[in-house]
Symmetry: C2
Subunit: 411 residues, 2 copies
């Protein structure tokens, strides 16, 4: 290769939303969890992080820009760890084995990353962000290691990022090694196994700044007497049972475990001193609606229709089969009217240009008194998406870096 | 005695608010709990149930009026059980031992009961109500049994009623007998031991009808995987530790355990399927204020100032020492302005006729951003009271029954 070769790669990676929750680290530096967790990867067509990485001998230092703004790479930080671990893999698995391989592990890198969803959406961007970082560096370095091996590195950036290295249904096995070599993500089932699995994200407006998950989970580890019981006796069984439910495409069991585990995660938050609350009155109302929807549906012999789950914030993610999403949107909008033209109808649930607030519908037999109606804006937006694939390799035309190695938005 | 003797007694009984929560029955008929609990009895000068019982050979059946409205005594009901148990005690411990004792256990009774606090205050009236019922019948029947023995009967009316048979600080020992003979209340310390213990009840407005505690606690027993751990491993230690704290008048420990146990009670509610929520955004805001108040105070080396606790509803009960109540009222009112003349200043915290909304004050160093300010009415009222005594014997001039044996309000 000539000296003008540009070593660059661009990748995108998905968001994932856990159904068995990760909450608690047994090693905060290596990010080793106190329990295994399991998530559904969401479709990158809708929500994604995109990252371009370039290695060049002219770069004076490693630099990273997130959404066009430089993010300092502090020595010893999680970001620095991920980058140096990827360089090490390049060196050990490529350069030391193939004398012809260019020695680019010694070059500094420029990295530009972009999330296509606003921070205001309240979705954790660190999972997709670190997964895209690791995926783009793996391409840049032409690594042949497995996604599970890459997940070990992504995990050290942000725990749940390891699960975004796969599409479909993904388990993060907690492992037992003190070095963390067996704390990694594995695929439970690919996207294609159960493509009918859709998700509706209800973005709740929130006045207050919540406790960060990083500090919150350690406070729970230190103070919640119930957490240890959850870790030792409850999560292992649930991991097994929900994996089987996914393999059997058993939505009823999937839904029951998903909701029970969301509840229990928030229960141990409440059992923390001082207590941590992530759900608010809007969150609780959506739970009441889903509980009543399922009650009516189960009573009719039609089984569960939806499963709510909440992360470290008030937003609901509702998992449901594609056939039931329209009914769920109509129900949610009945209680949470939307701003005009806010809803992006990606799956053509409604006629083109329809006013979603005119499409409300309460299922037959549904007890409307389970919740009160809110004002427009209490749920700011609804995002309809579905199970998706793992990190994607993108063409150079999607590069976020300009020829001079600076983000295009700044160049 | 002449045939015109009126067999009648009037008693009042206090409300109690638990600091170690009762949640779950191992026997729903006898009301035997899955764990011991502990409460503070509140002052009857402020909140009480008053009950008059009369036995008369002319009465055609047992009858009871609650707040002037007849409440049917269904066969086999908790009410029927309490009345028949009290008649049995009269028969076995008095009439069968003293041939001269009038055989009034065979007479029907008329009972009138009245709560001096509105149902809308959201305070459980069943505890004080059943305690007053049992206390008045015990007087009527001239029983010499101990309050603990009476508590066994009150317990069968409403579990927490057993704790209202004592003043001060009261433990309900869960016992182990299947017949419930050792599931009873005992005094941990009398009112006089720690009269500085005050309470501020913050009555939160609530749109929704919550899950009743009777059905809620059994759903938790049936579905919460965390409850069993709480019962077996956490409550026994906490009972011991908070009893010692009370005996040592150690407010810091008392406060920490009280708040942790309130949190954990609500955590197991959340861990229930479907989840049970009793606290709302107002409740959560009051928690945030108390946590911040204590943080500032502990940082100044002054220890804890307040302990919140929540029962099966959104109302906060804040325990604090008398010296700190004024500051707490000023803080709460800063975030929850009151309707004019709503606050009853029983302890002369403020100048006579002062507008409480003009008395707000934020402690030095307090981070005001921990919560947003609410509109007038979000906290409907504040009730300032303190630790109080057990059931009282009242004079005939306080009888609720008219000469004809019908409530005075109806006669």
């Amino acid at each position: 290769m000539s000296s003008s070769t540009i070593y660059q790669a661009t990748a995108s990676a998905p968001v994932n939303i856990a159904v068995i929750k990760y909450w608690g680290k047994r090693d905060t530096k290596l990010i080793l969890p106190t329990n295994s967790s399991l998530s559904v990867t969401l479709d990158q067509d809708h929500l994604r992080s995109t990252t371009t990485s370039r290695a060049d001998p002219s770069f004076e230092r490693d630099q990273l820009w997130l959404n066009g703004k430089e993010d300092e790479i502090k020595p010893g930080s999680r970001l620095a760890t991920c980058i140096s671990e990827m360089k090490r893999l390049r060196k050990e698995t490529v350069e030391e084995k193939d004398a012809n391989a260019p020695k680019i592990s010694g070059y500094n890198v420029h990295i530009a990353s972009y999330n296509n969803f606003p921070t205001a959406a309240g979705l954790a961007s660190s999972a997709s962000g670190f997964a895209a970082l690791v995926a783009s560096l793996a391409q840049l370095y032409e690594l042949t290691v497995s996604p599970s091996e890459l997940s070990i590195i992504a995990r050290q950036g942000s725990g749940s990022a390891c699960r975004s290295l796969f599409g479909g249904f993904v388990a993060w096995q907690m492992g037992s090694s003190p070095a963390g070599t067996d704390s990694l993500a594995v695929e439970v089932a690919p996207q294609s196994h159960w493509p009918q699995m859709h998700a509706l994200i209800c973005v709740a407006s929130d006045d207050k700044k919540g406790t960060s998950s990083t500090s919150g989970m350690q406070r729970t580890v230190e103070t919640s007497p119930l957490l240890q019981h959850r870790i030792a006796h409850i999560v292992p069984e649930r991991m097994q049972a929900i994996s089987e439910a996914i393999l059997k495409r058993d939505f009823d069991t999937f839904a029951q475990i998903t909701m029970a585990d969301s509840n229990q995660f928030h229960a141990v938050c409440l059992d923390t001193t001082p207590p941590i609350f992530y759900m608010n009155d809007v969150s609780r109302t959506i739970i009441a609606l889903i509980v009543e929807l399922n009650r009516v549906s189960v009573a009719k012999g039609e089984g569960y229709k939806a499963a709510y789950t909440y992360d470290a914030g008030p937003n609901a993610v509702i998992y449901a089969l594609d056939k039931d999403i329209k009914e769920i949107v109509q129900l949610i909008v009945s209680y949470f009217p939307q701003h005009a033209r806010e809803f992006k109808d990606r799956f053509q649930l409604f006629a083109e240009g329809a006013d979603i607030n005119a499409q409300t519908k309460i299922p037959e037999g549904f007890n409307e008194a389970v919740a009160k109606r809110f004002e427009v804006g209490a749920v700011k937006t609804l995002i309809h998406t579905r199970v998706g694939d793992g990190p994607r390799r993108l063409g150079d035309e999607e590069s976020l870096l300009a020829a001079n190695g600076i983000p295009k938005t700044l160049a």
